[in-house]
Amino acid sequence: MSADIKRSVSLYSYQDEYYDGKLDLEGCLRETSKAGAAGVELLAEEMIKQFPNPILTEEFRQKWNGWLEKYSLTPTCYDAFLENRIYDNRTLSLGEQVEMMCRDLKLASLLGFTSLRTLVSTPLDVIEGSLAYAEKVGVRIGLEVHAPFSLNSTWAEGYMDLIRRSGSKYFGFIPDMGIFCKKVPDVVADKWRRQGAREDCIKLVNDAYEERVSKGFVKIEYDLDLGRANMNYRNANGLSDLTQKLEAMGAGPADLGYLNASYTYSWSDPQDLIDNIENIVHVHAKTYHTTKEYVETAVAIPEVVSALKKAGYQGYLSTEYEGGESLRDAFDVDGIEQVRRHQEAMRRAIEG
């Protein structure tokens, strides 16, 4: 099948403009359209006050549909959060979590979305328990594969089993392109420089990252204790050794901070996309910094788009700009311009 790759924007990208009151929800939709995207991805809990109440009203939905029409946008993916530890003294029961997932599937369908992003912390049995309802409302559940997780891993295997066992088309994966970082984003190093990180320490961390890219990362395992899963993963990928090396160099907290930050990015072979294409619901096109020349400084856009073309991908690439978190301590963040550049970088890769 020949590929049909479309572009979308996740409104996560405009969080700094929204925070500052420069853009409201409609303003974000207008900017999405101006950036050249055909689709929009929504985090209802980010931009809809008194969540989820307005979504349940005809009045709000009319307004929403009017905006989609006005700005020629297709709703692509609804980002849900499954707040299963909403109370501090217990995790919600399986039944309560399924109920919450079904609520979110319903909200997604009410706003016209055809897929729902669920997070890596979502237990397998919650997805299994929600599949029949997902099918009923016509919304596919996509499990986000966010760094440091990866497709083709023991972590993904349990979820793959569910897909095979259930035969359902209503569950699959949403890779986040932060798993295709060849480098640690430059804006991240710059942030730690401002905190006092030393050049020799930054170099050590960057070299170690690039060595992991060339040798291959040790993959993270399925574990609902995400803190433990992360620490095991980090140590299996050399964190404790590098910590010792930095300490021997007399490194300070900013150097160690940068080292730890480097473990929130990862590299998977884009071949993983080809191997799993039938189960890819949507893609988060994560971006940290796109230059004036339309080059993403960390994420391998050309390689990822090339793999998706080869695989015949039919869905959206949804810009998710995250560079702001590395800038906002010292600079004004321009999410609008970063989204525009990133959309153009993707357009060139897709059409080129």
């Binding site: 500052d20 006050k49 989820p52 707040e83 530890r85 909403i86 501090d88 010292a330 600079f331």
Partner: protein, 131 residues
């Protein structure tokens, strides 16, 4: 000054109760990218001019409703979310409030979104003046 504004510059004030200055208040925004139920606030730690404020002397107000930090543990209503991009007001009970002049405030916002492997702790520091 470039960079994100966390505190409302017009939000610092002393708080009167029964004709006495019972404490002070300030307004700030949540350092996260979506609104939250108050139940996932694990702590708000306030230090004013180097003095730690006991947890029981802290109140949070959203949508005109005020809660102790003990009470927030069970607040899951849609009406009382700490909305993204909106201020919450923190009231600190402290007899006599703050003296006129300059003060230094540091507040830790400690929240625990369910999916995060580690909680989010944001230290928010500022200098301000009480008229």
């Amino acid at each position: 000054m470039p960079g994100r504004q966390i505190y409302d510059p017009n939000g610092f004030r002393n708080v009167e109760k029964d004709g006495k200055t019972a404490g002070f208040a300030f307004k700030f925004k949540l350092q996260y990218y979506r609104g939250i139920t108050l139940s996932i606030i694990r702590d708000i730690k306030v230090k004013i001019d180097g003095e730690d404020i006991p947890r029981e002397n802290i109140r949070i107000t959203v949508n005109n409703e005020t809660f102790t930090l003990e009470e927030t543990r069970t607040v899951v209503s849609s009406l009382y979310r700490w909305e993204f991009g909106e201020n919450a007001e923190i009231t600190v009970l402290k007899e006599g409030g703050l003296t006129a002049g300059s003060h230094h405030l540091s507040v830790l916002q400690h929240i625990a979104p369910s999916y995060m492997p580690f909680p989010i702790q944001s230290m928010c520091e500022t200098d301000f003046k009480i008229a």
